[in-house]
Symmetry: C2
Amino acid sequence: MKKSTKVNAAILIIGNEILSGRTQDTNTSTLATWLNSIGVIVKEVRVIPDIEKTIVDTLNVLRKENNYVFTTGGIGPTHDDITAQSVAKAFGLKYETHKEAFKILEAYYNPGEFNEGRQKMVKMPKNAELVLNPTSGAPGFSVENVFCLPGVPSILKSMLGSLKNKIVGGEPILSHTISLKTVESEIANSLTKVQDQNVEVEIGSYPFFHAGKLGVSIVLRSENQSKIDNCISQVLKFVKEKKIEIVDR
Amino acid sequence: MKKSTKVNAAILIIGNEILSGRTQDTNTSTLATWLNSIGVIVKEVRVIPDIEKTIVDTLNVLRKENNYVFTTGGIGPTHDDITAQSVAKAFGLKYETHKEAFKILEAYYNPGEFNEGRQKMVKMPKNAELVLNPTSGAPGFSVENVFCLPGVPSILKSMLGSLKNKIVGGEPILSHTISLKTVESEIANSLTKVQDQNVEVEIGSYPFFHAGKLGVSIVLRSENQSKIDNCISQVLKFVKEKKIEIVDR
């Protein structure tokens, strides 16, 4: 399959528990790292509450602006799980029992355990495609370019394998990090010059304070390794001139 | 000062490093927890890249839809720190050296250390109000209802004290959690009934798997303690009927 050069995505985190601060979202970092590795650039993340109108409206913006949208959360059995019905509404589709998903969960649970609560988890937008769940049975699903995944981080992670063949990425985004024992203000001007001379490489500068060390990580990102290499040489040149210690490269 | 009942906010996380998955954002959780404690409801979080047009456009949407907007990231000395100039553009203000901020950093650094890179950190939208930084000197700032904070979590945390008297919250949002040794599908129907009878309490259901325990936390949120208490009774009633073990309440 021919790869397009730029493929982008939005991540939509659905859940009051993130907005209240009760739960620390980690799915963004998991999904973003994985998407970058398969050549999908995350352009935007939004966190929104469990409110149907908000989910519908936000989805209808994001799915038109991006090649893919990945939602997390709201596909469990309780009253606050309203992602599937909201996706159905956003696409103008019926919200109904998905036969294949029903069969999967019927086989997954012991006889008598596939109760009314659990049966809610197989209600989806009509003709949704399933994203299989090797951890806890209940599948995610996709409609067109919108992929709906669970909020529980360990379950989400276990589903990336099932997702992989459904996503067509562009060129993988390559990244190289150089960590220096310095402060940002010391290298700001030199780094600006490198960025100005290498507009196709995204250069980020991030101070770090950990394990008793204080320093700056310079992150170089591009689809093109030789352009990254060119930046690395230019960075190492000013680092040498300024006699800055390299912590890691 | 009279408190309005509902005060809401958006959080705008600015930084390529979050979108690439390189950095795990923790500022959302810090800010959201703090804002809830002072009666400010976080309605939305967005994570966007270090692109001026995106920052300007997003800010101009969020600042009109919310009582407050809190940005994190992009106020350091390097080329990828473009929050201050973007905020100036969003408000149609000049981007210039802030005299008070200049004095603060001039006094903060040793003679000769307040170099060109660091002087970038005192360039702000004209007449911005400062948010003092007890950790590393360089202040954040606000323009109207937009508050710009740093991305480094420890520095951001240390600035909440300076922020506090600038924010007028509504009634604090109270929260009570009941953790049960059960699975969501077991309590889904009963919990739906409690939610239907208590529409002014936000009821969330969150499965947990930690320290070898599997269970569900029910989170009850409202500005009104007696409404929460009413929900607690109703939850404990069905918990008793179903002989579910209470892990914590």
